[in-house]
């Protein structure tokens, strides 16, 4: 409760700071959960190191991810945002010679524990990719694929309709559910992939630059969708677009590339992690300020 009392104040302060700087347009209505403290944590990362064939990709990442919040990972290319994201649903397991070290708790449970099955992990923690990747099947079969592999046979029609409605795609495709998904536009394909992901009722949705291949109108639709979806799901999004992070996320983590002394090796390091408004209006670290104000990166 003590946390609850401090929260509106902190939010007001940062909002004033935002008004003063007026650097980036922040839509405050999306900030319902944003506050210094966490109500509930989905992920707790402690000293996460990822190596590919022994070469470090990210080092010493420690951060928490809030439940039913949108958490954005930003930073320059090669800073390990996607690598970090792929740890969260064990997609890194698919890359030969990838090693993940450190502690990664999911609702308090060790995600890399010896008895954890990555297949089960991915049923709870879904993923949307950078490039829309619909299956070469009908729109209906794309959505029904997830429920089917979970063994569901009844009520598929309702599941498909519900998923498409939640992904704000139903009205556009309801008359052509049997058509091949490749006939959809890029933005529609990406919303289809989101619908496909939510059809299995995950707990978390990971999004790896979901709008980087889309036009501004499609991007806007997906951003609106994310704000809608966070009522039900926790979302972690990697984005190159700082305005996007500012618009949709509650918290933002800024990662940067770090070089060793000889400048042979480079890896990602978490520089700052805070409430999104704070990151964009009053960051604690000079490097964050330079990056979000466009001086570097």
């Amino acid at each position: 409760m003590a946390q609850d009392e401090t929260r509106p104040e902190a939010a007001r302060e940062t909002r004033e700071a935002a008004a003063e700087r007026a650097a980036i347009a922040v839509r405050p209505e999306f900030r319902s959960n944003a506050a210094a403290g966490f109500e509930d944590k989905v992920f707790e990362m402690r000293g996460i190191d990822v190596r590919y064939s022994g070469v470090a990709a990210v080092k010493g990442i420690s951060m928490d991810v809030g439940h039913k919040e949108v958490t954005a990972l930003i930073g320059p290319s090669g800073c390990g945002k996607s690598t970090l994201l792929r740890c969260l649903n064990r997609m890194n397991d698919l890359i030969p010679n990838a090693e993940v070290e450190g502690e990664l708790l999911y609702h308090g449970e060790d995600l890399y524990g010896p008895k954890v099955d990555p297949v089960q992990v991915r049923k709870l923690i879904g993923m949307v990719f950078q490039k829309p990747n619909p299956f070469p099947k009908s729109i209906y079969d794309n959505i029904a694929f997830g429920p089917r592999i979970l063994g569901r046979k009844d009520g598929l029609d309702e599941t498909v309709e519900k998923a498409l409605r939640r992904a704000a795609l139903w009205d556009e495709v309801k008359d052509r559910l049997k058509n091949n998904a490749f006939g959809l536009s890029g933005g529609q394909q990406q919303r289809l992939c989101i619908a496909r992901c939510i059809a299995v009722e995950p707990d978390v949705i990971l999004m790896d630059e979901p709008c980087s291949a889309l036009d501004p109108i499609s991007t806007g639709k997906i951003e609106d969708l994310m704000i809608e979806l966070k009522k039900e799901f926790s979302i972690v999004i990697v984005t190159h677009n700082m305005q996007q992070a500012a618009r949709v996320s509650d918290r933002t983590a800024f990662l940067m590339v770090e070089l060793d002394a000889e400048e042979h090796n480079r890896w990602g390091r978490l520089v700052e992690y805070d409430v999104t408004e704070k990151i964009f209006t009053n960051p604690a670290d000079k490097r964050t300020e330079d990056y979000v104000s466009g001086k570097v990166g």
Partner: protein, 313 residues
């Protein structure tokens, strides 16, 4: 006034001069280039014509000499030494159909299975997997007579000891075309982008579910094309069959496990062609027409299948 007129005149001259230079540069293609281009294009055309000439000569030869024997008798009648004008290919056709049915039964599960293992499961950084890969490429280039000897030593006799039966011939042909099927299936599987596999796995599908429900369906057109081309190769093979029991003169309908002999189309053509009588020569050419038609139909179907159903990513 006068100075202005002179400058305008100079400008016009300069423009005209520049235009003439440009025109000259654009027009004058060096003679050497023209000649070299023509020679090269001509040589390439010649290569095409030589390839076509061989095929055309074969077709004309076969039709001129074989068309008189083209009738339903050719398909329905067995060979006969006494009545060459009534002789046909019936046992050979039935034998060939059974042979390729056996080839398909064996080569599809084994070939596609091997391709799935090599493409989806094997870790290519391991030396033994690379060794397997190189060996499969090599096997595809091994002469077919070698497979005949292998079939004789291991299938007809040796470990399997099946005897000279049609199934032994089928297995031998299947081994012969197996590398083709594996290579074609691997290419079809590789054409499915990784994003499809990742999308499926990210939904909580197991690796097998991903292969069974996404990767394999998407690659079936490519696999089917490979299988058809492999089968048409098997259909035309003669040499290995001669070693594993295809008898050159069979007048009854062969059965898969019958040990009194079987025949196949190319073997029967070979037999007719060896006989001096004109009637048999004509029969051999009619058989060639028959095989060419069947092979052409199969290969065209394979191409059609590929163009019609191949997924564009």
């Amino acid at each position: 006034m006068e100075a202005g007129g002179a400058s305008a005149q100079r400008n016009r001259l300069a423009t005209a001069g520049a235009r003439a230079t440009t025109e000259a540069m654009l027009r004058d293609q060096p003679r050497g280039d023209v000649i070299r281009n023509t020679i090269f294009a001509g040589l390439l055309l010649l290569a095409v014509l030589i390839a076509l000439a061989g095929l055309t000569a074969l077709l004309i030869q076969a039709f001129v000499r074989g068309s008189s024997a083209l009738s339903l008798d050719l398909i329905t009648n067995p060979p006969s030494t006494a009545f060459p004008e009534k002789a046909g290919y019936r046992p050979a056709i039935i034998g060939s159909l059974q042979l390729i049915a056996g080839v398909i039964l064996f080569v599809v599960p084994v070939g596609v299975g091997a391709a799935i293992y090599l493409e989806e499961y094997a870790d290519n950084s391991r030396w033994w997997n690379r060794l397997v890969e190189i060996n499969i490429q090599n096997l595809a280039a091994v002469p077919s007579i070698i497979y005949g000897i292998l079939g004789l030593a291991f299938i007809v006799r040796g470990p399997l000891d099946l005897g000279f039966i049609l199934v032994a011939g089928s297995l031998t042909l299947a081994l012969l075309v197996l590398p083709m099927v594996i290579i074609a299936s691997r290419e079809a599987l590789r054409a499915v982008p990784d994003s499809i596999r990742q999308g499926s796995l990210a939904l909580g599908a197991t690796q097998w579910q991903t292969i069974r429900r996404q990767v394999l369906p998407a690659s079936i057109p490519g696999i089917a094309t490979g299988v058809i081309l492999a089968v048409s190769r098997a259909l035309g093979e003669t040499a290995p069959l001669l070693l594993v029991g295809a008898t050159v003169f069979v007048t009854f309908d062969p059965t898969p496990f019958g040990d009194d002999g079987y025949s196949a189309m190319p073997v029967q053509i070979f037999n007719y062609a060896l006989r001096p009588q004109d009637e048999f020569q004509t029969l051999a050419f009619a058989g060639v027409i028959l095989m060419l038609v069947v092979l052409l139909a199969m290969n065209s179907f394979a191409i059609w299948l590929r163009n019609r159903y191949e997924q564009r990513w």
